[in-house]
Subunit: 237 residues, 2 copies
Amino acid sequence: MSVDPSFALVGALIGVPARANMMAALMDGRAQTASELAFVAGVTPQTASSHLAKLTEAGLLAVEKQGRHRYYRLAGPAVAEALEPLSHLAPNARVPERRRAQLRRVGELRSARFCYDHLAGRLGVALADSLLKRRLLRREAGDFRLGPKGRAFLEGLGVDVAAAERERRHFARCCLDWSERRPHLGGALGAALAESLLRAKWLRRDRASRKAALTTLGESELSRHFPGLLQALTVED
Amino acid sequence: MSVDPSFALVGALIGVPARANMMAALMDGRAQTASELAFVAGVTPQTASSHLAKLTEAGLLAVEKQGRHRYYRLAGPAVAEALEPLSHLAPNARVPERRRAQLRRVGELRSARFCYDHLAGRLGVALADSLLKRRLLRREAGDFRLGPKGRAFLEGLGVDVAAAERERRHFARCCLDWSERRPHLGGALGAALAESLLRAKWLRRDRASRKAALTTLGESELSRHFPGLLQALTVED
DNA sequence: CTCACGCCTCGCCTATGATCGAAATATGTC
DNA sequence: GACATATTTCGATCATAGGCGAGGCGTGAG
């Protein structure tokens, strides 16, 4: 029965600004030290430690001890996938003003970014749109599934579709994007596609900014394999 | 701060036991009145009103005014879809016991519960069904009335029908059940029947959970007086 | 070795917000 | 008309838990 109010446990955990900031900073899947997270959360290390302990004990975060550092990261992709939709749920909720300053940074991330391990942002949405338009990908019950020619197409790009199918996570998740408000390809297939694009050097991952940048090679190759993709990317806000 | 931590807003909203209980009760998409939700959440109507206002203003719930009732429902399917995954996210979350106890599974309430002072839930519906089938009770203009042999039958169970008739409230209200979507017996007669079953120790009232539990005595007695009742109760979900 | 650093635990303080009683406002019933 | 019911608003209370300072432990650098 889906009337279990246990979502309140997670809600209480992520409903506190300090913890929410930490989780948001970890949403791309990278690990960060307790000190870094204390900084982004705007609290002292003692307070951060307390929060991180709670999040870890609850199973939302995982810790790795390295020397005198402790690296915290999301416990898994499911955490990011479950949290991201929440950002769209309360459009009318009031927000503190300092969000103005943060918005600039959000804008930078919009064009192309990694959502944990797959492509999101405008590039992620445009890729999904292109695949959908050509029937290589189809919506099905909240997820995606490959169209008849989808498998061959993706394998032509170097994506190991079979390996993605074997993974335990969602195969082709329909992941709603927080910046574009439209779906992009997540799950095992989304991760495999992103990995392929990186491996082919069409895309470069910027560790510092968490953005993805198209290489010159990628620009030409992607526009060849995904007609109209670049046009979709350069549409103004 | 890299990614939008706005999921904290939703998290804070659903992270409170009272609000979580309300949301959980609404997860099936049906609308319920503020009073029913206060009942489910285990708080007073004043408190419930405050919570419902917050949830509505945030866009998680929608209201519909009908007479002196206000029917609250989820603002859309997206709300349930976004909340549902959270329940599976932190299965190991350990939380103060007092707090966890405040979270109640609505499913438990469905089988047999008290709607104020009369029986509702599956048991209430099954009892009404049984009475209707045997013509001891009949539908009439939105309410019930006793059939020719109904009075004697209920008095045989220890119900003071005459006293119930003298009360100012509705005598035999046809009360639509929110969980079963089918009518059960409310009003003065419904309250008198419930009281009789409690007095006879066939039923035990759990104040904490607002449930009604059949005693072993009640199981045998009720199945004797209401043939087929237990079968109706054990139908799976 | 000592010192600096990263992180955690302990204890106290404080503020947010959940809660309820009383009362007001509609609405429905007799 | 009086009365009951459903819901909200206001006001006050009070417990929870977020926050930080102090101190301790382990790690790494000199």
